[in-house]
Amino acid sequence: MRMKLRQLILLAFVLLLPGVLQAADLIKKTSFSGTNEMKVLFTGKVNAAIAGDASRYTVYEENDPDIKLALAAATITDEGRGVTLKFAEPLNSANTHVVSIRNLNGEGAVDFKVSKSYLGYLLSILISAMLINNFVFTKYLGLCVFFGTSKRKSTAKGMGVVFTIVMLVSASMSWFFYQYILIPFNLNFLQIVVFIGLVSLTVQAVDTILRKVNPVLFNSFGVFLVLVIANCIIIAVPLILANNNYNYLETFMLALGAGGGFLLALYLMSSVRERLEIAMIPASFKGLPIAFIVAGQFAMAFLGFSGLKLF
């Protein structure tokens, strides 16, 4: 199972590569910084006289080609490889900006787009689902299974891993169904039935394959498969991706984040509950109530991630 996970990660990496190589040859990296700054990093050294000349730049938001943004200054940075564009007004980083530099590369103008990087966006989906909006601690999904399987670390690990894998497979299938069957045929109202059906199908398939391929693994992880269906995260992820119209990569990241976040939450919780087992909990709090209180404390700690903007 670990092998499979590694392959999946590798696959994701290969698929993500085009995102890294998005810009034109000349431009290595672009980003927004602060409220009214934009940073551009070129692949090599550029002519400082041209790149540092604010009057050679034309910058506008992609949707507003008729409104050029007023550039206050262009400063050469990174030993001639980069330039920081300072604008008179704050930028709206929600929108894609188009930057055009005249005569930078001999004739004509060099155009490129500056937006929040797509790779960063993908990673932020992952991080968000895992930490910032952890499905268990901030979105309260999958609680029944969460409290049910977090009593022992071994159980927690098993459940988390099985869950993540089923999640990846079923979310991918759900995305495919949603994009190519439900939407084109206007059958959106069937999404609940279709998604839950696909989850059951995935669970059944994983069950059968595991039983055949690796009975040892099945013995240790098989019991969790049934529980996966009862976990609302597994049905919530397809619903979220349908709501937000995610593409496949985004879906994959969301599923990975949701699964990883669940695994993380389960593991942390189980280690804490193993410790609580030997503690003197008041009688009426024994069992679930104290688990809820501890989960609340976890949720409070996870508040620390709120507002985290990595990319």
């Binding site: 942390l268 280690s271 804490v272 503690a279 409070m300 507002g307």
Partner: protein, 316 residues
């Protein structure tokens, strides 16, 4: 416990001269409510009442130390309930709490009174007028903490507000800057911390790894370009010192093994810098410690103490 409390007295006394006499009142309210909550919880849960061991009082002082000096006196009371009852006694009393009670109290207060907890800062006093903020004075003045200025307005505004160079370090080290009650005076915290180190109450592992990581990562990522951040400033501003010496080091919630202590400290430092630079709050050490707390038992289970000699043929 009482020794730790004694080590916390110098920063408290200095805070009176920095922010005025109300810091003393807040601390007193906090300590009294913590002790009361502890006594009531223990009574209600049928446990022996152990308020004399000083742990509740210590939590009280620490809660007061991590809230701004201009808040209402109600806040520490609520924080005490969260910290002592929910955070400690429901989980089995002292020794069984997973999260640092004082920080849990702070996180609760930050969630409940976000405005007060993020804006009730006071500009430090320079003329020993320790009564000037009492009563109606508090509402009229506000200040911004160094980290908030740095985060919201950038380095230029920071330099404008707090100066630069040796004077800046001196005033920060002494404590003359806006901040939580007990976190500002670096010198007193370090003094108390060194005394505890000398007495063997704490070991160097956690404070050094926390502060080292904060300094290193701030130096690498903290500035305009790579490796241009100011590590000393990062350590002196915010609650880094208080957190490293008194919060992260809390016996109950930190790992016991030395290796895990180092990893734990590095984790706290890294999360602190992450939240400071990318997160939603100007200061991150509170949440960094809370986030690492549950990991301490996990770390301890990975790094067992070195056994004298394993049985022949390995453990059964």
């Amino acid at each position: 416990m009482w020794t730790v409390l004694a080590c916390l007295m110098p920063p408290l006394i200095l805070s009176v001269f920095i922010f005025g006499i109300q810091t003393l009142i807040i601390t007193a309210v906090s300590v009294i409510s913590c002790v009361l909550v502890e006594a009531v919880s223990q009574k209600a849960l049928g446990r022996p009442i152990t308020i004399r061991d000083g742990s509740a009082a210590l939590t009280g002082v620490l809660i007061a130390f991590v809230i701004p000096p201009g808040v209402s006196y109600l806040l520490p009371v609520l924080g005490a309930v969260m910290a002592i009852y929910i955070g400690k006694h429901l989980l089995g009393g002292i020794g069984y709490n997973i999260f640092n009670p004082a920080l849990l109290g702070r996180a609760f207060l930050l969630a409940t009174f976000p405005v007060a907890m993020t804006s009730a800062w006071l500009p430090p006093l320079h003329d020993l007028a320790i009564f000037s903020y009492l009563g109606s004075g508090v509402d009229a003045v506000t200040a911004a903490t160094p980290l908030a200025v740095m985060k919201e307005q950038g380095m230029a505004a920071f330099t404008q507000a707090f100066g630069s160079g040796a004077g800046l370090y001196t005033s920060f080290f002494l404590g003359w800057r806006p901040g939580c009650i007990g976190e500002t005076s670096g010198c007193m915290i370090v003094l108390g911390g060194l005394y505890m180190l000398y007495r063997g109450y704490i070991t160097w592992h956690i404070p050094v790894s926390v502060l080292g990581t904060i300094a290193l990562l701030s130096w690498i990522f903290g500035g305009e370009a790579l490796c241009s951040g100011d590590p000393l400033l990062a350590v002196l501003s915010g609650g880094a010192l208080l957190g490293a010496f008194y919060m992260a080091n809390d016996y109950v919630t930190s790992p016991t093994n030395k290796t895990s202590q180092l990893i734990y400290g590095v984790g706290i430092g890294a999360l602190t810098v992450l939240i400071r630079m990318k997160g939603g709050y100007p200061e991150g050490i509170c949440y960094a410690i809370l986030l690492m707390n549950p990991l301490s038992s996990v770390l301890d289970s990975f790094f067992k103490p070195k056994r004298f000699a394993p049985p022949v043929g390995g453990d059964k």
